[in-house]
Amino acid sequence: MSINPTDAELVAEVREWLAVNWDQGRKHDPEWLGKVVEARWAVPRWPTEWFGRGLGDAQARLVEREFKAVGAHGTGQDRSNLWANTALAYATPEFKAKIVPALLRDEVKMCLLYSEPGAGSDLAGIRTRADSHGDHFVVNGQKVWTSSAADADYGMLIARTDWDVPKHKGIGFFFLPMKQPGIDVRPLRQITDEAHFNEVFITDATVPAANLLGTPTQGWEVLQTALAYERSLMGDRARGPRSGAGGSTGDMIGLAREAGTLGDPLIRQDIARVTALRTLNGLNNARAKADLAQGSSSAIMSLGKLAMSRILHEEARLRTSILGAASLLEGPQFPRAEDANFLTLNAYFTSIGGGTDQIQRNIIGERVLGLPKEPEVDRDMPFRQVRSG
């Protein structure tokens, strides 16, 4: 590893390393990732003490480009590995030393333990408690909307550690070991009749104090960091038609042609309107990226999720219109109906999940347009006194 390499030197080094170590058939297994970590390619932006090279963003992207060119995986985790980044920023040295390399090698499975049945839009209103017992905390409560909780080794948990301070100020952030008796993971059946999420019931589970990130009441701040990583990665998480046969989600023309309704002037207007929404969102995103590339931040970025919510609801509605009575049906025999109906329901994943459209509008109104916040009745009140329901 050369110190302060030129671009050419860096590219030569990574190419040479890949030439020696990467073979096409290779799986992205922990063994490969271990090599990548060891060679300091996993997190080139990170400091050298932590498996990194202290590279700037531009050079790190050169590394990513070379990996991508040969189809290799494992670099760029300083951007993409939510778990490792969060741990690096806030974990205790002892826990960091243990967990960070394991995360970079993908040896531990993770899940998020944030939302609760009583704390959805108001995440700071969580009531899961973590009570300190010296070298460990005891956790009790219920989490919901957790993906992959059944397989997880650790959950990134927010839990209340102090009930006598305002709600944002009494939260701790933990790496909670998931494989222990006090943790009961149940699948959560969605309106789409799938179960991508879990409910997690936590009863007297323990977590070592060393697994705390930041101070016992610094959790809200840690969470903001973790959420920022998550957001920067998210992109468009909306899923396409379930049948997989619908082609581009935007191809309403093809759908209407197939259904024999493309000649209907009402359908045609609707296709124009709805296709335009998706196209405009694409143009907005392209403009936002161009603005960012020129160094000026863009208001548009924040609008993406809200726009996508509308697009998904409108596309589902249009599909229903195009199909007419055929939308009464479901099942694999009727893939178009299945798509229309699935997408109708699944659109709520985007309009509710990760902050409802209404909460998004608050955020955009306040952060982008600079409109004043609403008075918050519980903001400065000891959490113990905050009304729940």
């Binding site: 959805g120 229903t320 009464l328 479901e330 409802t356 905050v386 009304r387 729940s388």
Partner: protein
């Protein structure tokens, strides 16, 4: 038609509401909707005992002699409770057609058993296109002397897989005619269709050289079919208005009890204003459904316009209310165990049966043109 006083109606509504609370709860609906038949025979008997299944059947044939006003009211309650039953098919659509045809023999033969709930009938109208118009009929009848045989496909037949008697709308060289077929007849193949609304049952029925009894009509048969569908649309409008009301009530109750940021979410303008708009939708749907029922009962000149209006206004109101309700509930309504999606499924089904909103808007404009 029998005379129902406003007290009679109130008592019937109250009794039905209590029955559905006791035997048609959400848990009952969830239990019933996953059965093959999709309805609860025990509940069906209770509905029969209450006079619901035969409500529209004339007293001469053992029915209650009710009309559009009474059935609209009944369907408001059915919609609120997501009732799983073939009432729409047998007690409304088939009864309406049989009584509208003017075939006394067939009426005398079929109506008493429909009224007492022992036979379930339905009407097969549209083919695979799913357009409930004369052009959409998918079955053809061929005559040979006095005998008729049916060929072709009827689809989206409501409760077709439950029916003991099929009334089949078919094309003949002389126009539309109505035929009576037992599903067990050779050449009849009834296939259940999987429905997005799990509380509904639909079937596709193939006819291949099926001998059928023609039910002669003393008027153009399509007119009678249209009339039966108008009656069904009034009933559906009631179901939609009642369903919307139930969803609104559920949503408002949740908005009062759910606390986020230290206060009930119903105190936030976003939720409050959505609720207010849904109230207007729901009240308008209720007015539209009841008005259509009254016009049809009194056979006023603008009855057809009132029915078209109710058809699209109530369909759209039910879909809007249920769809918005999920958003207002947030995550909890994204779960299978929450009833919101059951209503959304029902609303989406009701919005397609017997023609969608665009179709009914066009019909409505045609009525307006004639009036103007």
């Amino acid at each position: 038609m029998a005379e129902f006083t406003s007290d009679d109606r109130g008592a019937l509504r109250e009794a039905l509401r209590r029955l559905l609370q006791d035997h048609g709860s959400e848990a009952d609906v969830r239990r019933t909707m996953i059965t093959d038949s999709g309805h609860d025979p025990a509940l069906w008997r209770r509905l029969t005992d209450m006079g619901i299944t035969g409500l529209l059947v004339g007293e001469a044939h053992g029915g209650g002699g009710g009309g559009p006003i009474e059935i609209e009211m009944v369907m408001e309650e059915a919609g609120a409770a997501l009732l799983c039953s073939p009432l729409l098919s047998t007690g409304i659509l088939a009864v309406g057609l049989l009584q509208g045809l003017g075939n006394a023999e067939a009426a005398a033969r079929l109506l008493p058993a429909i009224a007492d709930g022992s036979r379930i009938a339905t009407v097969a109208i549209t083919g695979t296109t799913g357009t409930w118009t004369e052009a959409g009929v998918g079955v053809t009848a061929t005559r040979s002397g006095e005998d008729w045989t049916l060929d072709g496909t009827a689809s989206y037949v409501t409760h077709g897989q439950l029916a003991d008697v099929l009334l089949v709308v078919a094309d003949t060289p002389d126009g539309t005619a109505i035929f009576e077929v037992e599903p067990s007849t050779a050449g009849v193949a009834v296939a259940a269709l999987p429905t997005f609304d799990h509380t509904l049952r639909l079937a596709r029925i193939n006819f291949s050289g099926v001998p059928a009894r023609v039910l002669a009509s003393n008027r153009p048969a399509w007119e009678a079919v249209q009339e039966a569908m108008d009656l069904a649309l009034v009933a559906l409008a009631g179901e939609q208005a009642g369903g919307a009301r139930a969803v609104l009530d559920m949503t408002v109750a949740y908005a009062k009890s759910r606390v986020q940021f230290g206060r009930a979410i119903g105190s936030f303008q976003a939720i409050k204003h959505m609720a207010t708009d849904l109230l207007l939708e729901t009240e308008s749907a209720t007015s539209a459904a009841r008005h259509a029922a009254r016009c049809l009962a009194e056979n006023t000149p603008d009855a057809a316009a009132a029915i078209s209006l109710a058809a699209f206004a109530c369909a759209d109101a039910f879909v809007t209310t249920t769809a918005t309700s999920i958003q207002m509930h947030g995550g909890i309504a994204f779960t299978w165990d929450h009833p919101a999606h059951l209503y959304l499924r029902r609303a989406r089904a009701d919005a397609q049966l017997f023609g969608n909103s665009n179709y009914h808007r066009e019909r409505y404009v045609q009525h307006l043109e004639r009036q103007s």
